[in-house]
């Protein structure tokens, strides 16, 4: 029984910290997600220590709540995204996704090799530079109400492609690291599986839902539309992982499918309280994972600065070049939208630590870089997007 009280206290602290952090951020004209992540740092083990995380990614209750929170967030972002609108930006999104993987991977490998890692290890370190965390950017775009803009759609489309490529890359560097040869056949299989999953669920699901939408409304339909789409969301999040993609990709697709129904506005309204309750857990837990103690000396801080600059510049360059047809400003927005690494960088760093590729210091640096990019992006994005509020509002 006592355990149960402990977890309730933790939930209370996290929830209240998120509200306070979010409010302070908003008063400073920053997106509230920055405040939530900072609140996580504050209550986490590195500072106040009110919230302890036994281990990263071990399926503790907090991790599961955080995962549910970000899944619902991407689901709700999907709800505001129509497949047809994504198709229109297909080429740009593809370019942004590809260049946003290639450039950070190349620069990351060069830096790591220059710092004394052999090439194979360097590529593992570089993999942590690659994967964009869509959750942070999605939240900022949603908060600013600009999900309908062309830049937002390119970012979301690119995030899907980014995740597919990052997954492949991690597969390659893991097998190289393991000393094995790269099994090209199995990699191609994985790639086709992932692309097939996204295509079948995205295209097929949207078509089925467009036709079946009327059925949801019928009194003969036993389940409520909300229950159906929540089940879809959980189911696709799971399937997505089975195809080696992040759970949030499946959740995003589920939301996009649900956006084809006539109940989309009702569903958006019903999803809002779920987000209000559950997404703070994701951002606060993300913030709580920063280990400030490992960064307590000048050389580590210097390394962190270099790594963070490389991480930002390389993603920005990839996004900018990929979306250059939008003009400089639009391309800059897309580029910054791809910058946050967030929890994905943390997960890859944990894998590297477990595989013995990373030592404690580079692990702490990569984790801190992931979170720094997550904290730097929202204010920049908000500035860029607020500045030209009415200029390209049409999709």
């Amino acid at each position: 029984m006592h355990d149960s009280a402990g977890i309730l206290l933790t939930l209370f602290i996290i929830f209240v910290a998120a509200q306070i952090g979010g409010e302070i951020a908003q008063r400073l004209r920053l997106p509230s997600v920055v405040g939530e992540i900072a609140a996580g740092c504050a209550v986490g083990p590195s500072a106040l220590g009110w919230v302890t995380l036994p281990d990263i990614a071990t399926g503790t209750p907090l991790d599961v709540l955080a995962e549910i929170g970000v899944i619902l967030l991407l689901f709700s972002v999907g709800l505001e995204t129509r497949l047809d609108d994504l198709k229109k930006v297909g080429t740009s999104a593809f370019l942004v996704g590809v260049l946003g993987v290639v450039i950070p991977f190349a620069l990351g490998s060069l830096w790591a090799h220059g710092s004394g890692f052999d090439w194979i290890r360097s590529m593992f370190v570089a993999a942590a530079f690659v994967a964009t965390s869509a959750g942070i950017t999605a939240r900022v775009l949603q908060e600013l109400g600009v999900l309908q803009r062309r830049e937002a759609r390119i970012i979301l489309g690119a995030a899907v492609i980014d995740d597919i490529l990052a997954m492949l890359l991690l597969g390659v560097v893991s097998s190289l690291q393991g000393g094995g040869a790269v099994d090209v056949g199995s990699l191609v299989g994985t790639l086709l599986g992932a692309i097939g999953f996204v295509a079948v669920i995205g295209w097929g699901g949207a078509r089925v839902m467009r036709r079946g939408s009327g059925w949801l409304d019928k009194p003969s339909n036993p389940m409520s539309p909300l229950a159906i789409v929540l089940a879809l969301c959980l189911g696709l999040a799971f399937l997505s992982m089975k195809f080696h993609l992040a759970a949030i990709i499946g959740a995003f697709l589920a939301g996009m499918i649900a956006s084809e129904t006539s109940q989309r506005h009702q569903l958006e309204e019903q999803t809002a309280p779920l987000l209000a309750f559950l997404t703070p857990f994701f951002f606060v837990v993300t913030g709580a994972k920063v280990n400030l103690a490992e960064l307590g000396n000048a050389s580590a801080l210097w390394m962190l600065a270099v790594v963070t600059v490389i991480a930002i510049v390389s993603k920005l360059a990839g996004g900018f070049l990929g979306a250059i047809t939008l003009g400089k400003r639009g391309a800059t927005i897309v580029g910054f939208g791809m910058v946050p690494r967030g929890e994905v960088g943390v997960v890859i760093a944990s894998l590297g630590l477990a595989a013995g590729v990373f030592d404690e210091r580079i692990y702490a640096v990569i984790v801190a870089m992931s979170l720094l990019t997550a904290m730097i992006t929202p204010p920049v994005l908000a500035l860029l997007l607020r500045d030209r509020h009415a200029s390209t509002d049409k999709p």
Copy 2:
């Protein structure tokens, strides 16, 4: 990452099973909660084995989700309950609470002593007969839309009193079992603490909220009303446990306080999707805890039948006598409303098992009794309440 996929699959299975079970139950004109618990039995370790529970009450992600689910349920029930309405039924609620503890405890002790336990162990076994699980009844009352009825209010008020007394009783039998003398002073302290908590939070909170309600609406108020009451709910659930009460008592009080605000209808609407998503986890997990294998022989089944009859008759008698002023029918409704033991019985049985008082068989019997009473109550209650829909609808 694989772990994370596993938990998503489990969440998906539980959520879908709840929807299917609920729908089947409704077609059979039973409350959907019966279907959800039955679905839990079906997917749980005893039958299909799709959902495995590593251990009871160990703070696993599923336990935490289930706990959050039932907390939000009682919060929303509280939202539909005004303090003034509870006060009107104070005397009856008190009598129902007291008699509903004394009679089951007496009959339970007698039966256990008759079955060969010494008196001290018998009292521990009897403690598992005592505590009503308010969640099951609350859900049925909410589903039938009769929370405004006098019987419903008596049941809710009595559930609070029942929980206070059951907590004290468990304290007494635990210390007797431990071989220690009963420390009357500390018990009185605990009792006063619990009563003080309920009184201060209930009375005081409602008054403060009635006055402060306008503030919630002001644009200068930084947090949304929903975030404030959710924080209140988590905070009081935690505090409630610190005062040795169930977390749901605190959540119920939080809801009752929130019902004094002018935003109560908006809050009810916003809470609905949270319930739709999270409460199924509570009922399915409850159902999944039945261990059918231990009940696979005639003597265990016979014992289960006897125990269940005693559990039902004794609570029914307590509730009936306490609420006799309502007339036979109203008193029967109140009596049956107090019958479900649900997860509270399961928790006490686990404590008994851990303390070496219960063997595996009596543990399985008590757990099965708790869940049987949880499954039998909803249909009976629905029948009694539907039957006389318009007769005593005034509060």
